[in-house]
């Protein structure tokens, strides 16, 4: 069946460190989005990235659709980066909806 798997499940960083979060998906995709869920529960759109590479400040993302994975890079992490990071995928043959992974819980310590 279709799957969206994120790794690692938990990550603790010291402020200033870099990190890479991974999202593997099981089938061809129309759409892939990365979100940050803040402590208030809001989902913040980070990237819409069904393929290719994008950068936004200290964050960047790469999706290699042919190999069915996406990576989110966080550089020079700050305490405000803490929260849960979700990958969400819309599969070609699974209808017009996003399927979310279980998330990576990131804690950045000062």
């Amino acid at each position: 069946g279709i799957q969206v798997e994120q790794s690692p499940p938990d990550l603790i960083l010291q402020e200033g460190a870099n990190s890479t979060l991974r999202c593997n998906f099981s089938d061809s995709v129309n759409n892939l989005q990365w979100f940050h869920q803040n402590p208030w529960g809001q989902l913040i759109n980070l990237f819409y990235i069904p393929s290719g590479t994008k950068q936004n400040g200290r964050l960047s993302a790469t999706t290699v659709a042919t190999e069915r994975y996406s990576l989110l890079y966080i550089s020079s992490s700050q305490t405000t980066d803490s929260g849960v990071y979700f990958c969400a995928v819309e599969f070609w043959e699974y209808g017009n909806k996003l399927v979310f992974g279980a998330g990576t819980i990131l804690r950045v310590k000062s």
Binding site: N31, Q33, G41, Q42, F86, N96
Partner: protein
């Protein structure tokens, strides 16, 4: 920048009561969605809506739930006879089009607590 808005931000209701969660999608968007997230769990798709009818719904979206676009701007989710397990964060989203190259934009969510 246009954004999806949701009201209320937090709703507390008693078991068995009806609740209506409201959303204002981005104005030129055509597709609307509801998702929910039970505390500590994944975000799950509930329903999508296009051209004044349900486009797709999940197994979660049973007869207890209904959606409506009562006017040109609002999109609502009604939950009849709420249960304790309906306690969750409910997110509304909208997109310009369907599938393919259309990003879904999410609102800030409504936290529903059923007591």
């Amino acid at each position: 920048e246009p954004e999806v808005t949701q009201t209320p931000s937090h709703q507390v209701t008693q078991m068995g009561q009806e609740v209506i969660l409201r959303c204002v999608p981005i104005s030129n968007h055509l597709y609307f969605y509801w998702y929910r997230q039970i505390l500590g769990q994944k975000v799950e798709f509930l329903v999508s809506f296009y051209n004044n009818e349900i486009s797709e719904k999940s197994e979660i979206f049973d007869d207890q739930f209904s959606v409506e676009r009562p006017d040109g701007s609002n999109f609502t989710l009604k939950i009849r006879s709420t249960k304790l397990e309906d306690s969750a964060m409910y997110f509304c989203a909208s997109s310009e089009g369907k599938g393919g190259s259309y990003e879904q934009y999410f609102g800030p969510g409504t936290r529903l607590t059923v007591t």
